[in-house]
Amino acid sequence: MKTKTVSLRKMQFGLGLVLAILIIVGLLSYRTVAASQESAQWVRHTHEVLENLEDVLAAIQGVETSYRTFVLMGDEQFLESYRSSVLRASEEEKTVRVLTADNPNQGRRLANLAGLMEQKIQFGDALIRLRQTESEEAAVEQIRGGQGIRLMEEIRAVIRNMEDEEHQLLSQRDAEAERRSRQTKAVLIMGSALGLLIASGAGWTIQRGLASRARVEEAFRGSEDRFRTLVESARDYAIFMLDPVGRVVSWNAGAERYKGYKAEEIIGQNFSRFYSPEDIERAKPEEELRIAAATGRVEDEGWRVRKDGSRFWASVIIAALRDPSGKLLGFTEISRDISEHLHSEARYRGLLEAAPDAMVVVNQGGEIVLLNARAESQFGYRRDELVGQKVKNIIPEGFAERLIADGTRTAADALAQQIGTGIELQGRRKDGSDFPIEIMLSPLESPQGILVTAAIRDITLRKQNVEILAQSVSELKRSNDELQQFAYVASHDLQEPLRMVASYTQLLSKRYRGRLDADADVFIAYAVDGANRMQGLIQDLLTYSRAGTKQGALLEISSENALDEALTNLTSTIEESGAIVTHDSLPAITTDNTQMVQVFQNLVGNAIKYHGAEVPRVHVSAQKNGGKEWVFSVQDNGLGIDPQHFDRIFVIFQRLHGREEFAGTGIGLAICKKILERQGGRIWVESQPGKGSTFHFTQSERGGK
């Protein structure tokens, strides 16, 4: 910038100098030319004077000749010649007077000449008169007197003087002219040389400047070319330029691709043809140019039309181009087919619509930008009534809005971790009624900035269901407690009178057997038996009602030890039946030891009790069931069970055999089932009549504790 200014100054100075020199040279030349013109005029003047002087001399000689001839001839016709010569001489003398008016020396001589000419003419006049009045001889005598010749000599002398003077002047003026001419030549040569020098200096400088400028321009042209190539080859963006009224002046590959026109087809055409007929009718193209011209640029998204009439959704930026003085040169338009964005948006919309919840997309300003049909029905608004509205209109708690604002602000973090995991709030319908909602927020990056998608679930039903469920659970619990209480109280309170019945019937039978009649003994025996059985039932009912309710601490125990304990309790049964009870190595499990013993005891006890003809063999094993569950199996070689009774055998007091065959109330398996189910386990049986039975039950491994 600075060097540019300096070189410009230098150049300006050089040019000024050249100009000054040229002016000086011109002035000098002009002066010289004027002077030489003047001297030439003077030379011409001198020549004129000289010619006229010769003419004067000739006229005087003519006067002399004509008067002499007249004298000698006496012919009147020579008088005529004489008079014309006199006239001519006087005229010539007058001309010389005019010509030499500027020269006092010549003037004086001219006056002298005029006098002499006067005398000569007087002499001539006298001669003529003499000839005419007297004789030829007198006149010749007069001539011979020599006055005429003398005068003539004097005249000649004066003219010679004057001519000499003029010649002298002429030589002077020639010298002067010569000098000036030389001077002019010198000045011209020097000035021209100097001018040439400076001009060539300037020329060199300019040349150099031009050369570097040419290089710059070359380079610029190169980068411009590259830039143009870049623009022209850009295929993803239509980039073209418009003149101030909107005619296309440039066209790139992207424009051709998007709009379908070739450069030669479209250049010179108005760009409004890219708009839809509706937009053209609304004068949108003009409007956009107007805005671009006024504000510098305009951005738009909308339908644009291809050459073939098809439409695409475009994102368009039009920017005004101005020269440094601010004059509008035209516009650049960069546009892009964002139909795909639209598709993805359409997909997104589709997704929103398909969502089972009300979906509301909110921008940073807390305004609703998008919603689905579910949201319309849930809040009772039409879509157009909600779009652009503040979300707090439908979710009154400022909390939700703040949350959304936070969500959009910290979207970067939020994108990594979901913002909300279900926040319970109140939603407000158009009719003003509130309803419980749950909101899930998730941020969404979009061309319009960060948006938050709020999934809003109406949880009225769920809340009702939860309440109903809680109510049912508490009712169920109450009824269960009551039942438990009932079973306990009933069995306990029933036991008192029953004990009386049993005790006194027994006392009766003890003290009075054989002392009453035979019938009495039988009746008493039945009463005692009934009372005993009832006592057994009540006892079992009590046991059953308590089973699993008083769960001790769950500890990690060895199930093998539990089995051993059960077998110890069953010692007499085993010994009496001669049963062979075997088991695999059994795992450690976390459970209530007492209950585990009870379960083993009941199952092994049953296995021995319901034996067939063979010696009862019972085998206990355990297997890991895929996950964290152990499946225990108690296998026997006993009677087996018909599959149709599989369910029945686990029901309290259900028996498959008569009391005569096997004692018992039918409580053992019911208790096992109750205990195991309370622990989250299961019990089932595999069996065929006559082929033994295998009872399986599960116990979870439950690590830790």
């Binding site: 306990y488 306990h492 036991q495 008192e496 029953l498 004990r499 009386m500 049993a502 005790s503 006194y504 027994q506 006392l507 003890k510 005993n532 006592q535 006892q539 009590l542 308590r546 008083k550």
Partner: protein
């Protein structure tokens, strides 16, 4: 209500029991006892406490050597009586045998926590019951030295 069995140097037992059937059974069971037993019966808690504190008509009753206490009683139940006796410095030395139909672990634990000296579930059958009473007779009246046997 009160029945006294006259005998020389009898052992005084207070049976707190509301069921006449049980009272009779108990009485029947003690018939075969080795020692002479004076079985006093209180049918509810208030009566039992009045007897123990010799209040009103019980001013001249003997101090029992042993108390057989049922838990389920009208008015003041066995647990309350147990608490009251064991908190009374004059009475807390009297051994108390809980004799009840309840076999609930909660009742058993609770009773011992209230310093019952022993807890017996009434056997449901007569033979069992007789056996239990015989055991009480054996243990508490023959084996054990009771405070009441020492001079007052």
């Amino acid at each position: 209500m009160m029945e006294l069995i006259e005998d020389a140097q009898p052992v005084e037992i207070l049976l707190v029991e509301d069921s006449p059937g049980d009272v009779r059974l108990t009485r029947e069971a003690f018939k075969d006892a080795k020692v002479h037993i004076n079985l006093h019966v209180a049918t509810d808690g208030a009566e039992a406490m009045a007897f123990l504190r010799r209040e009103g008509k019980y001013a001249s009753v003997p101090r029992p050597d042993l108390i057989l206490l049922d838990l389920n009683l009208p008015k003041k139940d066995g647990r309350a009586i147990l608490t009251e006796i064991k908190e009374d410095p004059k009475l807390k030395c009297i051994p108390i045998v809980i004799l009840t139909t309840s076999s609930s672990e909660e009742d058993i634990l609770r009773s011992y926590q209230l310093h019952a000296n022993c807890y017996i579930t009434k056997p449901v059958d007569l033979d069992g019951f007789l056996k239990v009473v015989k055991s009480i007779d054996n243990f508490w009246l023959s084996v054990v030295d009771l405070p009441s046997k020492t001079p007052r």
